[in-house]
């Protein structure tokens, strides 16, 4: 689905220049679950933001289903995000003034072929907390609302940036289960960023980044269920 060649992203100029990505080559396929591993500053988040249309690369090729994402304008990028991509962030980023159901419903208002908000929240086992506001939910619950929000539009791509980063182990596993379930049941290409190597076991493929390049790639013969992970 994604074809990435020589992807380079440079922030700032001159002495302040930071090369976040320096020539990433990568292909991502439909329905697979990919874990992106790497230390801080390795370029994971930059890569994810480029894939999700939140940022544009400085150089290189970035194609989604044959469409060149580096050449389209702001409005087309918005459309791409709206129709194709689901995001899950480390800090949930829920709208505090909307309930769980409404946070998800927000997406179903603008998406092309959404599932009902209730169904999406069912999928992350939050069917019982539909009308709670973010402030009334625990961190894990908030993150699951964020996942429900991301999958409600039946996205082709689900991008998760440190989804368990702010959570304890037990809650983190519940969240990963939800992501895994969405990947399995909806056939969504899922990319998870983490620096927690143990999570690599649940992936189809594991990509190691360092210094803005793909360091090495590993294919898992068997995907471990999220519930079996422990760290």
């Amino acid at each position: 689905m994604f074809r990435v060649r020589g992807l380079t992203k440079v922030y700032g100029t001159g002495a302040a220049e930071v090369r976040a990505l320096s020539g990433v080559d990568l292909d991502l396929y439909a329905s697979e679950l990919v874990v992106l591993l790497g230390p801080s500053g390795s370029g994971k988040t930059t890569l994810l933001n480029n894939l999700g249309g939140l940022d544009v690369p400085t150089a290189g090729e970035l194609q989604y289903r044959g469409q060149d994402l580096t050449a389209i304008d702001e409005a087309a990028l918005t459309r791409y995000r709206r129709d194709t991509v689901g995001f899950v962030f480390q800090f949930y980023n829920l709208i505090p003034s909307l309930t769980a159901r409404e946070n998800v419903g927000l997406i179903t208002e603008i998406a092309r072929d959404p599932m009902p908000a209730e169904t999406a929240l069912e999928m992350v086992n939050l069917g019982g907390r539909l009308d709670h506001f973010p402030a009334q939910l625990s961190g894990g619950e908030q993150q699951r609302v964020a996942i429900a929000r991301a999958i409600a539009k039946r996205p082709e791509v689900l991008l998760c940036d440190e989804p368990t980063g702010a959570l304890d182990v037990r809650t983190g596993i519940v969240v990963l289960e939800a992501i895994q379930r969405a990947n399995r049941e909806l056939g969504t290409l899922t990319v998870i960023i983490t620096h927690n190597a143990i999570m690599a076991d649940m992936a189809d493929r594991v990509i190691h980044l360092s210094d803005g390049r793909v360091h090495h790639l590993r294919v898992n013969e068997h995907r471990a269920p999220a519930s079996s992970l422990n760290w």
Binding site: N49, G52, L54, D55, E74, A75, T78, R79, R81, R82, D83, V85, G86, F87, F89, Q90, F91, N93, L94, I95, P96, S97, L98, T99, E102, G105, L106, I107, E109, I110, A111, F133, P134, A135, Q142, R149, A150, K153, D161
Partner: protein
């Protein structure tokens, strides 16, 4: 050397300069209004006081028929009287080659060989009258300017029926005529009415008054009782045809200046209070936002050992920089506006030198008021932040608590979009911020209503007065009441369509303990020209007997229809009668009274007499008519409706126009500033939320809609409130303008309201657009990283 904390303050300010400036501007508007009004009050009051002192303006005045000069010495004996100045004051008709119509005026005498003791003139150009001179006179500046007269020019004047030419020796001003207009006229017409001064001997001889006086003014000794002096004078002067003495408070020119000062006083308190409360809130909102962003910094400062006091002081300094900017802006604005408005006053008020004088006490007062407003605005916010234990403050703020908004709980939640829910829930969570944005917008709407309402009121008065009440084209008054026979003479003038006579008699009307002096108008009971209307604009038919008085007079006297009023005529045979009050009229000119002409003449006991007439004239022959009038020696004054209207348009309407512009500018600044501030704060506080919406696929326009929905909801609440507020302001102003001499109705039109709504809508929209453009620069990636 700036401390590091001050350097931080400076950089914070620079980052928030847009908002800081918006607050300073709103504050500046309030202060400008206050400084302007207070300075104008100060300018008018101090200039008038100095003028009165240096030119020895008298304190008590009286007109009478004729009294020997020796009587003046007896008046001086009255306890409490300091200086007495007798003289002559007469009405004359003028013949100006530049004017089609006859002009008229008042000529006053000056002592032949010495400067007057009281009411001394100020020489603007030319020279004083030469001692013992003849054929020379001084002219009041208002009339001279309106007719482009210079020293050396000559004017033809009918003195007691005899045409004489006079050379103008100088152009002068008098403390008696700061406001110069024909007695009884609500509006000045300086083109056709003027004031002149001549040596006593020449004037007295012309009017057979040599050795006598018909006008007297005096000053009181310190501690002299005005009331008792007036009472004694009235008693003394009754047999000499005294028209009733009056003090400065009833002096026509003095009243007009005092009225203006009173309007300014209303303005100098009411508006600034509202402006400053809105500004105080805006400071609070800006600072709360800053403090939220700087929670961690505050925590670190406290962890390093800064005291709460130091922290509070640091942020108060932030507010005071804004206050200082606002004060400077307001000071400059107020002084600038004051200069413009003082020039306007020159059209109405004649002072030797009316310059703008800044009321210096207004500046520290302004600073104090603003600083108090700002302190009130920031104190809560800063204290809240300073109280937080450092460890807690260093953690990110927990997600804010929300709940379904009130409107949703009514059961219509179903129909509301998510955007709308976000908007109303946000508003409900921050009721104070919403309240003050509403207050600001309501204020902007409200202040627009005032000048337009004032303009409409004045327009309605004049339209009613000129189109419905006074349907004549012009009116004239005779030097002395004359036999009704002259009516036929008038009828034969060229171009006359209809003519109706009137009789005016100066009288004192009383009921119970109250009494007032005014002219009773005798008009034909079924007249078509000058008509009497009640306060619903219905025609009041004058019954054959009895008196109809204006609503205001009835109210002042406390009399009701059916009561017997005591009428003392102050001229001719000075009869005193009880006359039944038979009706009430809705006049705008305060104190008026009407009687059927025959009934008034019976009361006066002088036979069938008239003192003037109202005409309708064939437009095509108007000039012939006016030329013919100029040849009738007994005509004392002529009032032409069209020229009054034109004159009004050039003076009063022009000044209302300027005031409208000032209020318009204020309203735009407030609407713009309040909306800008609100939107900027929303944008800053919710950058993360808005960025999230963008990331998950909302377009820029859809995200903008979230902000705009809030503003629209606020505006929808604010505008109707603003219209109510404006109505209240307009009522208060009209009430402060209304006196015993003028009664303005409250006129609020749909177009006035619509204009206010439109201006506020446009200003807020532009301001919102400016902020929305910032959504373009929303950094999607960094907004998602970690909560600040």
């Amino acid at each position: 050397m700036l401390s590091h904390l001050d350097r931080k303050l400076w950089r914070d300010l620079r980052r928030m300069k847009g908002q800081a400036f918006a607050v300073a501007m709103v504050m500046g508007c309030g202060l400008a209004m206050m400084i302007m009004a207070r300075s104008l009050i100060f300018s008018l009051e101090s200039t008038r006081r100095e003028y009165y002192e240096s030119n020895r303006f008298a304190e008590v005045f009286v007109h009478l028929k004729r009294a020997p000069n020796s009587l003046a010495a007896r008046i001086k004996e009255i306890p409490g009287v300091a200086t007495v100045q007798p003289g002559i004051s007469v009405q004359v008709t003028l013949d100006l080659p530049t004017l089609d119509e006859p002009a008229s005026g008042m000529v006053l005498s000056l002592p032949d060989f010495a400067p007057p003791e009281l009411n001394r003139l100020f020489l603007r150009t030319g020279r004083w009258l030469a001692p013992g001179s003849r054929g020379e006179m001084l002219v009041g500046e208002a009339f001279a300017n309106a007719n482009h007269l210079q020293p050396g020019d000559t004017i033809a004047m009918l003195l007691n029926g005899r045409r004489q030419s006079f050379r103008i020796s100088g152009i002068v001003l008098s403390p008696e005529f700061i406001f110069e207009s024909r007695p009884g006229a609500a509006l000045p017409d300086n083109r056709t009415y003027g004031t002149f001064w001549m040596p006593y001997k020449e004037l007295a001889t012309a009017f057979d008054l040599y050795g006598a006086f018909n006008y007297l003014s005096l000053t009181l000794e310190p501690g002299g009782k005005e009331r008792s002096v007036i009472a004694e004078m009235d008693l003394m002067l009754t047999r000499y045809g005294g028209l009733g003495a009056y003090g400065r408070a009833d002096h026509p020119s003095h009243i007009r200046v005092s009225d203006e000062i009173r309007v300014l006083e209303t303005m100098s308190i009411g508006f600034p209070i509202v402006f400053l409360s809105v500004a105080a809130f805006m400071i609070n909102a800006v600072l709360s936002r800053l403090l939220n962003l700087q929670r961690e910094q505050i925590a670190i400062m406290k962890a390093f050992g800064f005291t709460n006091r130091q922290i509070v002081l640091h942020y108060l300094k932030f507010a005071f920089v804004i206050v200082a900017t606002g004060t400077v802006l307001g000071g400059c604005g107020g002084v600038l506006l004051g200069h413009r408005l003082v020039i306007l006053y020159h059209q109405f008020f004649r002072f030797p030198d009316l310059a703008f004088r800044a009321d210096r006490t207004a500046f520290p007062l302004a600073l104090l008021v603003c600083a108090a407003a700002a302190t009130a605005g920031v104190f809560g916010a800063v204290r809240r932040a300073a109280r937080l234990p450092p460890a807690e403050a260093m953690r990110p703020e927990p997600p804010a608590n929300y709940r379904p908004a009130l409107v949703e709980r009514t059961g219509i939640a179903h129909f509301l979009s998510h955007t709308f829910r976000i908007a109303v829930r946000n508003l409900e969570r921050r009721p104070m911020q919403a309240l003050f944005t509403v207050a600001g917008l309501a204020l902007a709407t409200g202040i627009l209503i005032v000048p337009n309402g004032f303009r409409d009121s004045v327009a309605q008065v004049l339209d009613t007065q000129w189109d419905i009440v006074q349907r004549q084209d012009l009116s004239l008054g005779l030097v002395e009441p004359a036999s009704a026979q002259v009516r036929h003479l008038f009828g034969q003038l060229p171009g006359v369509v209809t003519v109706e006579p009137f009789r005016a008699a100066f009288a004192r009307v009383g009921f119970g303990h109250q009494r007032r002096q005014l002219g009773i108008q005798g008009i034909p009971p079924s007249g078509l020209h000058n008509r009497v209307l009640d306060d619903h604009d219905h025609l009041v038919k004058l019954p054959p007997e009895g008196l109809v008085v204006s609503l205001k007079l009835a109210e002042v006297l406390g009399a009701r229809v059916g009561d017997e009023l005591r009428v003392e005529i102050l001229e001719g045979k000075r009869p005193v009668r009880n006359v039944r009050l038979v009706g009430v009229s809705g006049d705008f000119t305060g104190m008026t009274a009407y009687m059927a002409l025959p009934s008034l003449n019976r009361l006066l006991g002088e036979g069938d007499v008239i003192s003037g007439a109202n005409f309708r004239v064939d437009g095509a022959r108007r000039e012939d008519f006016l030329r013919a009038l100029k040849r009738i020696p007994r005509v004392s004054w002529v009032a032409i409706k069209d020229s009054l209207r034109e004159n009004f348009r050039q003076t009063t309407a022009a000044s209302i126009g300027l005031i409208q512009k000032i209020y318009l500018a204020f309203a735009v600044v407030v609407a713009f500033g309040v909306v800008y501030n609100n939107a900027r704060i929303s944008l800053a506080e919710r950058a993360r939320e808005l960025a999230t919406l963008r990331v998950i696929g909302f377009s820029r326009r859809e995200v903008g809609a979230v902000l705009v929905t809030e503003l629209v909801v606020l505006s929808l609440i604010a505008v109707p409130l603003g219209l109510l507020l404006g109505t209240g302001f307009a009522k208060a102003i009209i009430r402060s303008v209304n006196t015993e001499t003028v009664r303005l109705p409250l006129v609020l039109t749909t177009s006035n309201y619509a204009f206010a709504v439109l201006v506020v809508a446009i200003a807020s929209t532009l301001s919102a657009l400016l902020v929305l453009r910032m959504l373009d620069h929303l950094d999607l990636v960094s907004a998602l990283k970690d909560p600040e």
